[in-house]
Amino acid sequence: MTRKPAALLWIFSMGLQMASTGILRAEQVATGYSESPAPAAENPGYQRQLQYHELPEVTLVDQFGQQVDLRQILSDERPVMVNFIFTSCPTICPILTSSFARVQKQLSASDLQVPRMISISIDPGFDTPDILLDYSRRYKAGSDWYFLTGRPEAILKVQQAFDAYRGEKMNHVPVVFIRGSARTPWVRLTGYPTVAELLSEYQDLVSP
């Protein structure tokens, strides 16, 4: 018997979503197996969009327990990268966080300005500052990387502002937001850009 975790989706009545997210692509008919490697994928592994977001006025708390005014840390002239994570997330968050860590490390060794990094927990009930501090150490996060938590209402507002809210935490999507400065739009990357791709996206923004 073949196990079909896709089938789990049905149980949580997300069958429709499945079709719309492209997991179940009825139109893409497989005409038998090819034993030789498939042709190189055209798909860059992620999508790119430009967006402006009206950010809410919220105070969050970082991994050291310090209050942080979200608008303020986003409004100075520094470039920023933002993602949404939670510490008990098994699959998507490790890949997002490890990419941030890698980008931070590589940029620190380069001539380019190092962006401010912001990872916002979408499970604030569990992810208290001390838990986030522990998490940040796992990924060897450098300085100027905020791991933020806060009141559930505040976190919800931020997710909604970035159009990154998908209800249940386990239903989240991989998204990264990059901005060159407070005056330019956000670049929204959905999917799994490689570290090299993230770096080049970033480079395009800061050294036009």
Partner: protein
């Protein structure tokens, strides 16, 4: 080719001169046309143990972490590298967002995947000449279809992320740097993981048996309150039997799939008598006599530890027992608890004191008697307090080994000039403490707030003097009664329909909650009745808000085994009433 420079050099391990390492013995994998080479120089048990450590913990035989990087090029941190994090302990995979983490047990890997989302029968019922109605029409075949893996293609998949059809799989599947020997160990482990159609004990074609552990010291009234609700819940489930069997036999394939997986629930009560030390042996006897798939609910007057350990060792799930003394562990796996109970009270107090503005004036004094639940409260406090970076020096632990009344109270309260006093006492100890405080007449200034467990105070039956009322903060790991009236009413209505008296609100609410989530977990298994998969089914349930009156919400998360993540701290209002103000309302404001 966006990926071309990211694929590590293929080492073609199965073709080059590695055979010295591996014995030439080929192990056929039951039911599949694949043979695996076996790592040489080890016993089968060693191989499986090493394979298991790689799979579950991401650790190599020498204890170092497996190395891997994501398709993005970033290294996978040690805590995320174990296969089980993503593919789950059962190997049956999971779904996160729109990402499918495919199953990796033998039944899945060594047979072709033709479709996405469609059920297939076991190999035995499938194949040429079979009349089963299991397949989707071919036009629904998905892109993720692939032929069965061979030893070579599987090793390539794990090392490079290229699957048996040549597809470059998701960036999220790490590319592993494993030697031939370690790869062989891992494959042996996968080959026996969640074996096809060999379900865990306690399941047959018609039914699935659950045990309900009952500590004989618990009052008849409480036992009955628990059992009646559980029985009602399972009875409701079992009335579906006839229609489900009919639909499974006659329906189209997707109904066969859903209904064919259906099982009746059978409950057996395991009553434990005598000393706690003797429980373990009693449990072993019960399990040998008529094995259960998992434990459901259950109640203990004191600790759950012997049962917890029994379950951990035999890898038997225990779902939401009623106990005020759960085992606190962040690595144990098989018991799912409502709450850390006393530990949670200490934890929430630490979060509150650490975040409530000014640091306390004096030292924090923590009072508990070893071997009582209060020790857990103290542990909960200390652990969170130090995790939040507070200096340990400011925390004084007073560990009682004498009667409370004989302590040098003038000194404790005077010289140590305590800030908050955390009194994790109960029963006679707490009664004595309250009496001592009455006679000391603590001055308004001299003494900080006194933190008590709300449940412990209630159990003493004592009322507090006005002076004490002003000083006391009550800590609770669950909602005060009356907090969620509509939810209580929903439960009452349901009980009424079932013909059950509303006698034990907390017990009944909790068992009702089990009834609420159990069908989802059973359905989620889709007929794959493996104990590990059952545990994992609960992890997918996210936040539950409305189905229980004892907590504002319960949160399920991967790997987490305590659903309640918050607590209450109540400041009593002056006057004779039981009025209070919530200083902490479930979540400490970060």
């Amino acid at each position: 080719m966006w990926w071309s420079n990211k694929i590590p050099e293929l080492s073609l391990p199965w073709r080059s001169g590695f055979l010295g390492l591996l014995s030439c013995l080929l192990l056929p994998v039951a039911g599949y046309s694949v043979a695996l080479e076996k790592a040489g120089g080890y016993t089968d048990q060693q191989i499986l143990a090493y394979g298991k450590a790689i799979y579950r913990k991401g650790l190599l035989p020498d204890g170092t972490a497996v190395k891997a990087s994501f398709g993005t090029g970033a290294p996978v941190p040690e805590q995320a590298v174990a296969c089980a994090n993503c593919h789950k302990r059962s190997g049956l995979g999971a779904v996160e967002g729109n990402l499918i983490v495919w199953p990796v047990n033998a039944a899945s890997l060594f047979s072709p995947r033709r479709t996405t989302g469609a059920w297939r029968a076991s190999v035995k019922d499938d194949g040429p000449g079979s009349r089963s109605r299991w397949h989707l029409p071919v036009k629904f075949d998905s892109q993720a279809a692939r032929p069965a893996y061979t030893q070579e293609t599987l090793a390539r998949m794990i090392r490079t992320g290229v699957d048996a059809s040549g597809r470059h799989t998701s960036m999220a599947m790490p590319r592993y740097d494993l030697s031939d020997e370690h790869m062989a160990m891992l494959m042996q482990y996968l080959a026996q993981l969640s074996p096809d159609q060999e379900f865990s004990p306690g399941v047959n074609k018609q039914s699935i048996r659950f045990g309900v552990v009952v500590d004989s010291r618990v009052s008849q009234r409480k036992k009955e309150a628990m059992l009646k609700v559980l029985k009602s819940v399972t009875k409701a489930h079992n009335t579906q039997t006839r229609p489900h069997i009919r639909r499974a036999a006659k329906g189209p394939f997707y109904k066969t799939e859903a209904y064919g997986a259906y099982r009746q629930i059978e409950l057996v009560v395991w009553e434990l008598t005598g000393e706690e030390e003797s429980w373990r042996a009693q449990l072993e006897d019960y399990q040998e006599e008529s094995p259960v798939f998992a434990l459901l609910g259950g109640i203990s007057a004191t600790t759950w530890q012997p049962i917890h350990e029994f379950c951990e060792e035999h890898e038997i799930p225990a779902i939401l027992p009623l106990t005020r003394e759960p085992v606190i562990s962040d690595s144990d796996w098989y018991t799912l608890y409502f709450s850390k109970e006393h530990y949670q009270e200490g934890d929430v107090t630490a979060q509150y004191l650490a975040r409530s503005g000014q640091p306390p004036a004096g030292a924090i004094v923590q009072l508990y008697r070893p071997g009582t639940p209060g020790e857990n409260s103290a542990r909960g406090f200390s652990n969170r307090w130090s995790a939040m970076g507070r200096e340990q020096g400011k925390l004084e632990n007073v560990v009682l080994d004498v009667p409370v009344s004989t302590l040098p109270w003038e000194k404790i309260l005077g010289d140590m000039a305590p800030g908050p006093l955390l009194v994790w006492l109960e029963g006679e100890d707490l009664r004595q403490f309250l009496t001592v405080m009455q006679s000391l007449h603590p001055g308004e200034e001299g003494l900080g707030d006194i933190y008590l467990s709300a449940d412990a105070l209630k159990a003493t039956g004592k009322t507090l003097s006005q002076k004490m009322r002003r000083k006391v903060m009550l800590v609770s790991s669950h909602s005060p009664q009356g907090e969620f009236v509509p939810r209580e009413q929903a439960l009452k209505r349901w009980l009424k329909v079932q013909g059950i008296d509303y006698s034990e609100p907390e017990i009944q609410a909790k068992m009702y909650f089990i009834g609420w989530i159990l069908p989802g977990a059973l359905k989620h298994m889709r007929g794959e009745y493996y104990r590990d998969y059952f545990m994992e089914s609960f992890e997918m349930m996210g936040d539950q808000y409305h189905s229980i009156a004892s907590y504002p919400r319960l949160s399920f998360s991967p790997g987490q085994r305590y659903l309640a993540k918050g607590g209450y701290i109540l400041r009593l209002l002056p006057g004779r009433s039981s009025g209070y103000r919530k200083v902490v309302d479930w979540q400490v404001e970060p």
